[in-house]
């Protein structure tokens, strides 16, 4: 009986063999980690954020270590969506795992164009990274205004052949309204949290550590904030939620599932231990075995408030 543990989950019509998905920007296009772990074991991979044209990214340093976390400011270095489609996607499609294309743009038109370009590709879903500055709205991130989220989601949805995941930014006062806006505009799923805006200062140079001055915080430090936001989002919308932020072991993943996530994403933890997705999967199984759960449905959203 305890052998009948089914880790599969269906999100927006796509079935994942397990709920452990690699978070965008932390796993490249899978090449590097494929030397350390069998990508067939993964639930899915969300690829490095893609833009319409190649982007060189920000100058270094692009990373700063902080207590139990990191700040990064990669600045979306990527070869552009077309190159990805031609060169990187075929590599990923060798594996039996779901591939999610994480896309970012400066204008709604850019997002739409990318969705269109990806329409005839083999990707399984599109993840809309709305943490980017909206150049038309004077650099305000799309993801910090529910109206902008609605606008961009419904626009992209029209061009989208695959299920659409909207990845929410945590740099907001009310995450619920952001999740609701995405849902109302037709998102099939929301994922969160993206990184929290932060800064680290080199007190000897009297300058920020990051060349870009500001960066996004990720890793264990953000976990309690992420769990709270995932709980709030999952209780604000009916579409599935993918939770992430600081997950480093099976127990962490269980926290997010209980809070309402249908699946989780794992980012920063890979840097310290490339085998961490396997540890998370087996930790999850152990937890389910202990409590005789056979299905993720027995966990997702099962948190009871005190």
């Amino acid at each position: 009986m305890s052998n009948n543990i089914d880790l599969s989950v269906n999100i927006a019509g796509i079935s994942f063999k397990n709920p452990v998905i690699m978070a965008s920007g932390t796993y490249g296009f899978g090449h590097e980690y494929s030397e350390y772990i069998d990508l067939n074991t993964l639930g899915g991979i969300s690829v490095k954020g893609l833009t319409l044209k190649e982007r060189k990214g920000n100058p270094p340093p692009r990373i700063a270590e902080t207590p139990a976390g990191i700040l990064n400011s990669v600045g979306l270095q990527n070869p552009g969506v077309e190159v990805f489609k031609k060169h990187d996607l075929p590599f990923l499609k060798q594996f039996d795992t779901r591939v999610i294309a994480n896309i970012a743009g400066n204008t709604i038109e850019e997002y739409c164009e990318m969705a269109e370009i990806l329409g005839d590709s083999e990707i399984d879903a599109i993840e809309l990274n709305v943490s980017c500055p909206n150049v038309k709205a004077g650099g305000l991130a799309f993801g910090t205004d529910p109206l902008l989220i609605e606008e961009i989601t419904s626009a992209v949805k029209r061009y989208c052949k695959q299920p659409l995941i909207v990845k929410l930014s945590p740099n907001v006062g009310d995450i619920k309204s952001m999740a609701r806006a995405a849902e109302a505009a037709g998102a099939d799923c929301v994922s969160l949290i993206n990184t929290i805006l932060g800064m680290a200062i080199d007190i000897h140079r009297k300058k920020p550590v990051l060349a870009n001055n500001f960066g996004g915080l990720s890793g264990p430090a953000v976990k309690p904030v992420a769990v709270r936001m995932v709980y709030e989002a999952a209780h604000a919308v009916k579409i599935p939620v993918i939770g992430m932020g600081g997950i480093a072991c099976g127990d962490d993943a269980v926290e997010f599932l209980l809070a309402g996530a249908a699946a989780v994403m794992v980012g920063t933890a890979n840097f310290i231990n490339p085998a961490v997705p396997l540890d998370i999967i087996s930790g999850l199984k152990e937890y389910m075995k202990k409590y005789r759960y056979s299905n993720l449905k027995d966990i997702t959203g099962k948190l009871e408030l005190n």
Binding site: H31, E32, Y33, I63, N273, A275
Partner: protein, 265 residues
């Protein structure tokens, strides 16, 4: 499939002040490493959250061990300097090694400070006929492992900033003098960005190929996270960000755009 390695610490030696040499038993690294590559070490706990990249200083294939030499800078290296026994959790060997080739009959390595030590492995691995080591240190007490360099190279010249040992000079001046005497087939350098930039300029001016070992803050250490960017030339007038952990740490000096690579770690 590559693996994260859990290896035994064979020895930890304090070389001077804040510089330590750790010997690690690792069949895998001893068999597979090449000069210029590095190990990415877990220093411990959530305090030093990320791994720390440290170059391989030398390999003893017969005994299946390798050495790293590191300077205590912050939390991570501090913790590492307390591990005299037990295990270390490493990813290794990582990165692109120095190019060693029979074409290079006469080689010069130029090292500065903590950057001198990975060049020892290079000297020991190269089959060049004439090997020269030009080493720069801050002061007398920071001159360590000299004997091992003397055993690895025919010519060893040492400069200190304060003249308390060897010549009082910048190591780049030693290089200029050396080149006046005889032009080597290649120059390899590792050390502070500003020094390597100077070394590269001298080599290029003299038409000598030059390899440099770059540093940058890292995340994954294997090329997936793209944080360890290094500005490099790409075609005629274009440039891009290569990645120190995967495309480097060793680069041809002429590929580097030095404006952003100097000391931004």
């Amino acid at each position: 499939m590559k693996k994260v390695l859990t290896e035994q610490i064979a020895d930890l030696e304090k070389l001077c002040d804040d510089v330590y040499k750790m010997t690690v038993r690792s069949e895998y690294v001893a068999q597979n490493a090449a000069p210029g590559q590095f190990v990415n070490v877990k220093c411990g706990g959530i305090e030093a959250f990320l791994r720390r990249p440290i170059s391989i200083c030398d390999v003893d294939r017969a005994n299946s061990t390798f050495d790293i030499v590191f300077q205590v800078k912050g939390n991570g290296t501090e913790r590492l300097s307390c591990k005299c026994t037990g295990e270390v959790d490493i990813m290794a060997p990582l990165g692109k090694p120095f190019e060693i080739d029979d074409r290079y009959k006469s080689i010069v390595v130029v090292g500065g400070g903590i950057g001198t030590f990975p060049l020892l492995y290079l000297l020991n691995s190269s089959k060049a006929e004439e090997k020269t080591a030009l080493l720069g240190f801050r002061t007398k007490t920071s001159v360590v492992l000299e004997n091992r360099f003397r055993a690895a190279a025919q010519h060893v010249e040492i400069a200190t900033d304060d003249g308390t040992y060897g010549k009082q000079a910048f190591v780049t001046e030693l290089l200029e003098q050396r080149i006046l005497g005889q032009k080597p087939d290649i120059v390899y350098t590792c050390g502070p960005g500003i020094m390597m930039r100077k070394v590269a300029a001298i080599a290029e001016k003299n038409g000598i190929p030059c390899q440099v070992s770059m540093e940058q803050r890292m995340g994954c250490g294997i090329g997936a996270c793209l944080v360890c960017a290094c500005k490099t030339k790409k075609g005629e007038d274009d440039w891009g960000f290569a990645h120190v952990c995967k495309d480097g740490p060793v680069f041809w000096s002429t590929d580097i755009c030095w404006d952003q690579c100097e000391d931004s770690r």
